[in-house]
Each structure stands twice: as C-alpha cells, then as structure tokens.
C-alpha cells in the first residue's frame, strides 16, 4: 500500500509504517515505555529524514500513552503533584532541547550527537536493567539470601533545598529533584524523539525512591504532556511533524499497546524486564556499530 507523506516528501509502504507502530505499541504496552527509542531509529533507517522522524515519533508516543494514563489514573496510580512538577520541568527542557537542536543542526553535528546519546543512554540503562532482572530471576534457583540495603533516595536528592510532600509517591523531598529530572527528560525528548519512559522509570525508582505502584502511571503522565509540548515545539520551529506519518504510526501503536497490555498480565515481570533490557542493549549495540564503521553515505545535504 503506497502512502505519500506530504511533509517528509516521499512515498512509503503504509503497511510497514503501521507494522512499525504496532511493534513499538506492543513494547509500550508490555513494558510501560513509549517505544520512541525504537520508532525514531527505525524510521530513519527506512529513509525518513531524521527531523521528520523525531518530530512524528513524539506525536505517536502521545497517542500510545493516553490509554495508559487513563488506566493508571483509575487505579490511583498517578501522582499528579509530582507528575505536574516533572511536566513543568519537561516543558522547560523541551525548550532548551529546541535551542540545542537548532545549534547542533547549524554545526552539522546533530546526527552524531543523537547517536552518541542513544548509545550512552540505552547502553547504561539496558545493562542496569539486565543486571537487576538477572538478580531477581536468579535467587529463585540459587540460595543467596539478599540483605536489602535500605535507602529511600539518592543522597544528592536530600541535599537539595526546600521540601514538599508528595503523598501518593510517599515522598517528602525537594521539588527540585523531580524538576531537574523533568528538564533532562524534556531535553532528550526533543533531541531524540523519545518519550523518556526508559529513563524516567528507573530514575523515579532508584533516584527519587518513589513507591513502585505510582511509578509507571506518573511516568506515562509526564510522557503524555511532554510529548504534546514537543509536538507543538516541532510544529512551531522545525515544521517537521508529518501528520500522515503520525496517523499511520498511531494506527499501529494504539492497537499494539492494547495487545501488549494483555500479554503483560500473563508473563512474569522479571522476564519482561530482562527481555526489554536485551532489546535496549541490542539497539544500543547496533548504534555503536553504526558510529564506528564507515557509513554508507559519506556526504549529507542540508538546505541553506
């Protein structure tokens, strides 16, 4: 099925786009991450211009996280106060990201920066997740009794001034901690076209020390609003949001997300985390490989 994308200015196979959306949708349903970390690189690989890929992927992530937010809020799994703080940070971050994007684009280094960010981010988080998942699978067979080191949040968090109470998260911490986290994720969202769930979820768990029941919901809440802001930011600055591309990605991802959610209820969570870690590490390795070997195209054209 031929599909002409009016902003990307080329014709693609619509089935592939829906399938790609479906794949990332299933991932988002399974693991509670947006799946943008797969959409953007795969779209670029398919020949979509990088800016259009990043902009339209963020639009897709919005759609993929909507139903999740509804579902979690019904179960009181969203800390709106903490989520609100990270959203404010995220919108600031998206603004900073837009400026960075322009600067790097003018310098001609946007692609390499995006690739390095992917390798570093995905590599770190993937190996942390893999390690954590392996440890939670192994005790079932092994006999090591785990002495749980009890620490609520990272020492840096306690060093920040001012303290607010976040009841649902069970936290009494400085609002600057989630704010800074939000800013960082916002920058990444704008640069990489990702929702940032794969950074937000571990950071909320291990750095802020939020109670596990509200982490995924609050993270999705943040992703929803920050990707909305980045879509607007892209529409206003890069004008690279391809609504036809986004619609076809959404078609796949919203259905995929539902399928993923169904499957997630039947599989053990630690195996899910291990699977996600493997996928994340594979993407990181592929990108690392791409940085190191001679690229197919030595020359790139950008309009003046």
């Amino acid at each position: 099925m031929d599909l002409y994308l009016p902003i990307a200015n080329l014709s693609v196979n619509g089935i592939w786009i829906v399938a790609l959306g479906m794949l990332t949708g299933i991932l988002s349903g399974l693991f509670g991450v947006g799946g943008g970390f797969l959409t953007t690189p795969l779209l670029i690989f398919y020949g979509i211009p990088p800016t259009v890929a990043a902009a339209s992927a963020s639009t897709q992530v919005t759609g993929a996280s909507v139903s999740g937010v509804f579902a979690h809020s019904k179960r009181k799994g969203v800390d709106y106060k903490l989520g609100g703080v990270t959203v404010v940070g995220g919108i600031f971050g998206a603004g900073i990201g837009a400026i960075l994007f322009r600067f790097l684009q003018a310098a001609g280094q946007i692609d390499v920066v995006i690739n390095i960010l992917y390798v570093v981010m995905l590599g770190t988080i993937g190996s942390l997740m893999a390690k954590e998942a392996m440890e939670s699978i192994r005790p079932a067979q092994g006999s090591t009794s785990r002495s749980a080191p009890k620490r609520r949040h990272h020492p840096l968090v306690t060093a920040l001034p001012l303290r607010w109470r976040f009841y649902r998260s069970g936290l009494y911490i400085s609002p600057f901690a989630p704010l800074i986290l939000g800013i960082l994720v916002g920058i990444l969202t704008m640069l990489m076209g990702v929702g940032g769930g794969f950074i937000l979820v571990p950071a909320m768990l291990y750095i802020l020390g939020m109670s596990a029941g509200v982490v995924v919901g609050t993270s999705l809440f943040n992703i929803l609003f920050v990707t909305m802001a980045t879509t607007m930011m892209h529409a206003l600055t890069t004008q690279a949001v391809d609504i036809v591309l986004a619609a076809f990605l959404l078609l796949g991802s919203v259905t995929g997300a539902q399928i993923g959610t169904q499957v997630a209820q039947k599989v053990k969570p630690e195996w899910l985390r291990l699977a996600l870690a493997v996928i994340v590490l594979l993407v990181a390795l592929r990108m690392l490989f791409g940085l190191g070997v001679q690229p197919d195209e030595i020359y790139t054209v950008s309009p003046l």
Binding site: Y4, V66, M232, V241, I243, L250, V301
Partner: protein
C-alpha cells in the same frame, strides 16, 4: 556603411546555413503529487526539422536534460575522527539542482562534443555546474561535487542515460525519464539540444510543473502557515486515537 553591410552579410550567411528547428514536447506539463504518488515517467519527445519544414536529413545527436528547481545547499563530508565517523568538512553550493537527468542519443558525450561545450551546456553529470560559494580549491571542489553527484545518483535524483534518446527516421526523437517519489516540487525545465559536428546547432526548452495537489498541498500549506493549529491538530489526533483504542479494547 560598411558595418551595416557586414551585418546584412552575416544575416544571410547564417540563415543560409539553414539551422534546423527543434520542436520539443513533454508528455505531461503538470505532474500532480497526491496520495498514492510513487513517482512517474515523463516522455520528452519532439521533432527536428529544417526551416523549410522537411526532415533535417543529416545525422544529429540529441541530448535532453531535465532539471529540477535549484536550491542553495550545504554539503557535509563525514570523516573518521578518533573512533567514530562524524561530519568534518563542508562546503556550500549556491545552486544545486534538486533533480538532474541527462539522456543522450550517443554512447558517450565526449564523442559528440568537446569538454568546453559539454561544460557550457552541462551535458552530463560530469559537467554539472553547482556554483560553489566562497573560495575553495579546485581539487576539493571536485571531490565534493563528485560526492554530491554520487549521493543523488543513488537516491535516484541525478541520472545519466547514454543512448537513452531514440531517434527515428532522423526526424522524431524520444526519451523517457522517470521521476522518483522523493522529487521536490517546483518548475522543472526540459532542455533539448541538437548537436552535430561538435556544435550545438539548436536548442529548445519546455517546462514541467511538479506540484502537490489536494490533501497533500493542504497539509503542506497548513503546516507552514498555521503552525500552531497544525500542531494542535496533530496532538488532538493522537490523543483521540489513543483514547478510542482504549475504549474499543475495553469493550472486548
């Protein structure tokens, strides 16, 4: 007085040579880019006649060039810096055609004209004029030009097809040039040159308009002129689709 005489003499001398007339035509003067557009094929055809309207009767070579709208571009070159490949040097071209296809009736451009003529008329990818801005040494310029031509050749935007023009009965000529789906919109010019004994003896231009129509044009204009509402529409669409999917699956 003698100068006027000379001019008159020249006039007769030139018209006596009976340069042929080219009558070019394009199969489509307007290419509409709309949903389902996967590229198209243009047929550039026409006739060569001598001024009295008879067939030209001599052996001609025909070269046709279809050129897309030119744009200023920056071309970057990747280089290995430390362990990774990244953009290093770059150069700017003031007018790089977004599409450039050459078809010729001969097997080699070099067989029918000399270097200088080929460069003047841009008869071939080797002679493409990109007008670099700023000073740049010729060797480096040649490297960048070759890089751009190679890149766009593989994208299907630059192409050369020797023996791609068919001449029948020394009167009619015809060349097929395909436009891929990733072409830029704008005014394309189709130039036809008749060449004999190393000289371009006749040339003619026809224009082809490539434009988005209907929904595609609407989306493009909307995204450029009303960025805010376009963004809002994209956001609402994604929220709506996510919400509907959630509701539908809740029913199952």
């Amino acid at each position: 007085m003698s100068r006027v005489f000379l001019i008159i003499l020249c006039f007769f001398a030139l018209s006596a040579q009976r340069d042929p007339i080219l009558v070019p035509e394009v199969s489509q003067h307007e290419v509409q880019v709309r949903q389902g557009f996967t590229g198209t094929e243009l047929i550039l055809f026409g006739a060569i006649l001598d001024p009295s309207g008879q067939r030209a009767g001599r052996k001609y070579d025909i070269v046709v060039i279809l050129k897309g709208p030119s744009e200023p571009i920056r071309l970057r070159e990747k280089e290995r810096i430390g362990p990774i490949w990244m953009n290093a040097e770059s150069t700017a071209f003031r007018s790089a055609p977004s599409f450039f296809a050459v078809a010729s009736s001969s097997a080699r451009i070099a067989d029918i004209v000399d270097e200088r003529t080929a460069a003047i008329y841009e008869l071939g990818l080797d002679y493409i004029q990109l007008s670099p801005s700023g000073t740049i040494d010729p060797e480096e310029q040649a490297r960048f030009t070759a890089g751009l031509v190679d890149l766009r050749e593989r994208q299907g935007l630059y192409k050369e097809s020797m023996e791609g023009v068919r001449i029948s009965e020394q009167v009619l000529y015809q060349a097929r040039i395909s436009l891929p789906s990733n072409v830029q919109t704008g005014t394309y010019t189709a130039e036809t040159f008749a060449i004999t004994r190393g000289r371009v003896i006749a040339s003619a231009i026809a224009e082809v308009e490539v434009k988005k129509v209907g929904f595609e044009r609407f989306v493009e204009l909307f995204s450029q002129q009303q960025e805010f509402w376009y963004g809002l529409l994209a956001v609402s669409l994604s929220i709506f689709m996510g919400w509907v999917a959630g509701r539908l699956f809740a029913l199952i």
